[in-house]
Amino acid sequence: MLKSTFTPIFWVLTPKPNPQNIPSKALTRNFFTNSTPLVRHNASLNPATPSTPASAYIHLPFCRKRCHYCDFPIVALGSASTQTHLDPRVSNYINWLCREITATKVNQPASSTPLQTVYFGGGTPSLVPPALVSSVLETLRVKFGLCEDAEISMEMDPGTFDAEKMREMVALGVNRVSLGVQAFQEELLRSCGRAHGVLEVHEAIGVVKSCGVENWSVDLIASLPRQSSEMWEESLRLTIESQPTHVSVYDLQIEQGTKFGRLYSPGEFPMPSETQSAEFYKMASRMLSDANYNHYEISSYCKSGYECKHNFIYWKNKPFYAFGLGSASFVGGLRFSRPRKVNDYINFVQNLENGLVDSSGDGHIQGKDTAMDVVMLSLRTAQGLDLRSFQESFGGSAVLSLLEAYKPYVESGLVVYLDEQRRTIRIDDLNYSFLNKPNTEKRVAYIRLSDPEGFLLSNELIALAFGVIDSWKDCFPYQEAEAT
């Protein structure tokens, strides 16, 4: 009923040309002279059900050595460490991790919302002995419950597991593997400081397939130093040939404080130029699409139905738990990052046990912040931003302000407006009108970035939306919005 008190303004399709229509320019001006639309309070529209997380990220930080590009919170065990079950650093850590899980406050009993996805990330989770992984899963099961058919993913690195270990993991419930291949060229693997070679890559692929892991991903890195387009093409070809259900293509980021950060600057030799690395991105998009992979997120491709459910939780701005060193959770509207140093982390767990810290929020968050998160995360996906739910959360003028800002980029092909049936709306067919006009089904229902040009400029395009959201006049704290 609140809905009717606002006049929702929408962009709809109008048959063109329409000489009787008020010239669209004039209308545009009317709507946008006040370029700072008011955003309404709408907790009542979006019932305050700060949903309980059904996903958990588990950080297993151990690596044999640190890769040259990596700035993640990891613990390097030394190159010889493939047998880690005797290493007290690992068992102690798992102990603290389980204590963190146990000490975490929850509102609901374990039975009400059992976990639907669990993601072991790292680090190199495959270095951790299955027995210890088992204890983590058991702790989760006791604390939150775990669905029968939960997606349990694990990042695994070539050279850190054999068929036996793989089978043990599968027996524990791991049903999705994310294989850290990165490249198929010996010299590139070496120059990134990877602890494995090409031989281990092929072995690992063989092991994963032979152990019957149906849902698995090859992770690749593009734009490595001295990577040629021939090499990149080869990596993509070999990936496609090994027939994973999922491919992740990450773009190398030169981070401060890493070895690469000291050696290289982006765009300068031996790093590929901006143009070259844009070409790499396009090549991946083209080759993988040709091989029937859907480009469903900026850096993710999959065969139909094999989207990573866990990652979708992030992109939909849904809540999730996170446990372990440096991990970031999103519970009760609060994004909480854990300490990145082992000692600090142990302190944190102790404080958590003593009730001195709380890693979840009270559900109250700044509306604009949420709007930015929703836009940032959903525009990473091929589905894009769902304007219906965005309007429900932030109001019609908020939607209009985005549509207006992106209009020039629709013209230049970086942004795509889709109708309810996900058909592309031609730019000449766009016009302003009111929702109470009959042709509602012709309104713009989704905004997405084009593939690959729009995805390639996603930072620019998202920052643009941030600017728009920032200039909204007011935004009341409200409960939660999901980029459904």
């Binding site: 991990s327 959770s329 998160d373 620019e460 920052a463």
Partner: protein, 674 residues
Amino acid sequence: MGYLSKASRTLRQSNYLSLLCSLNFNPLTNRITHGRFSVTRELFCPQSRQYSTTTRDKSAIDLSQYPPELVRNFSIIAHVDHGKSTLADRLLELTGTIKKGHGQPQYLDKLQVERERGITVKAQTATMFYKHSVNGDDCSDGKESPNFLLNLIDTPGHVDFSYEVSRSLAACQGVLLVVDAAQGVQAQTVANFYLAFESNLMIVPVINKIDQPTADPDRVKAQLKSMFDLDPSDALLTSAKTGEGLEQILPAVIKRIPAPPGRSESPLRMLLLDSYYDEYKGVICHVAVVDGILRKGDKISSAATGQSYEALDIGIMHPELTPTGILLTGQVGYVVSGMRSTKEARVGDTIYHTRTAVEPLPGFKPAKHMVFSGLYPADGSDFEALNHAIERLTCNDASVSVTKETSTALGLGFRCGFLGLLHMDVFHQRLEQEYGAHVISTVPTVPYIFEFSDGSKLEVQNPASLPSNPKQKVTACWEPTVIATIIIPSEYVGAVITLVSERRGQQLEYSFIDSQRAFMKYRLPLREIVVDFYNELKSITSGYASFDYEDSDYQQADLVKLDILLNGQPVDAMATIVHSTKAYRVGRELTEKLKTVIDRQMFEITIQAAIGSKVIARETISAMRKNVLAKCYGGDVTRKRKLLEKQKEGKKRMKRVGSVDIPQEAFHQLLKVS
């Protein structure tokens, strides 16, 4: 050509000796003054320095003891960096006005800009008391040696601030003309000498920095003789660094510089020298009492505005504000009179006792604005903040002219006139440092005059105000010129002549100061020297050239308006007016420069320079190919958020023309292209 004409005639030096004898010292008055003084010091000058004077009685700030005969007003003038402010330090220490080693060096350079740049920007007055033994005979006849009240004004050396020198000289009867013993006479030495000479001031030459290994005082003496006809035996040799020779200065000031000529019994006439705004006291005026006496509580009026005020607080700068309750003929001090804005305090105004009839003092010629530039808030929305900051700062720097203007690219802003480029720079810096304002400045321009076929004339202080395709044909244009003085070691003459002719200069004079130094005078278009001339001159002469200029007439010139267009849209704030022979080069330089400072965007950008509808230079910036963060490990979105927010903030600080985002840096960079 003098900036000022002095109303007074100099007093004969011999007159004051006879008057000295008739002074009486009243011990009772002294004691009373002492008591009152210590109280007021605490009340009004909490932060003023502890001082000790060389006078026997510390309480002696009873100005009535200093009739004009015992007063000397002098300025320290020199070329840049010849040591004026350092010498002032030494004199303040010598007289106990400041404690030795306690203050910062160049004590009188109080502004942050002055301290950071190591230059004086604003003239500063300090009153000192000095006990002078007549004829070097120290009280052998049992009679007290008289105390003198000395007003020292430290002036800036840089050409932009010569207006400050002119004003200071109006309150003086003599100057210390300081010359660096190694560098010798330089361009501002010449300029400042003439300012003093034409004001009929007694000139005391001081050859400073004699401690330097390359010091050659004899050569400097010879230069002073040949250029200014100053007697070599009159020159004092000093080092403000080691202290050598300093003791001769104040005796020479007392002996050679005449006492102020005003008449105590005449009605009050004060010259308003300067004013500034103090948060606690309001407007503070610096004044020189030419005739008569000012007492606290007196009703006073301004000749310029006719407004009346009450002298609420009066005193001297010693060196901080020190209330004295009275100011006598010939003295220089301050007056707080409840003025609300420094706009009421017109520099050069005559202040007199309300309801008396006086002849106004001649005052000063108004400061001439040489360069104009637009000032805009760096963050679009901050117009009000900038407005406020400019209003406040112009209270303390009245030499800037300010009018509102609008730019399509930059929004609401101001067109400001400055005395020169350094002045402009200093103004910007003060706006930032003292008022926290962030500004974008447009390329400085000089005021041109355009005449159209219908006979109308337009003074153009902002190139954007000149139509690019005027309806009326332009029939003539004029540009301002300057007369420049250049002094250089003779081996650089060739290089300098080449430079000056590139800048469309016309030689007026070429002579030698001595066997090693050439002296040249040129008429140059002001535009040609405004931006980088001095730097260029210094670089081709290994830093040895000195340069000074004074404004001169307008001359006819072949000028065109050069527009800059981004994706076909003219950017008004980037328009310039250039000499037609230079249009192509400038156009190319501007477009090339812009190409380096404008970031790639999601579409291609064309940058064009055009005269009217004719494009004369063009660059393109290809579209950005890629800016993606293909990584979102472990759901840690906060990091990505921050990155994107930073990017958004960056965008917000840019100025948008059409769809092109222009970084503020672009406007700063354009300043560097001549």
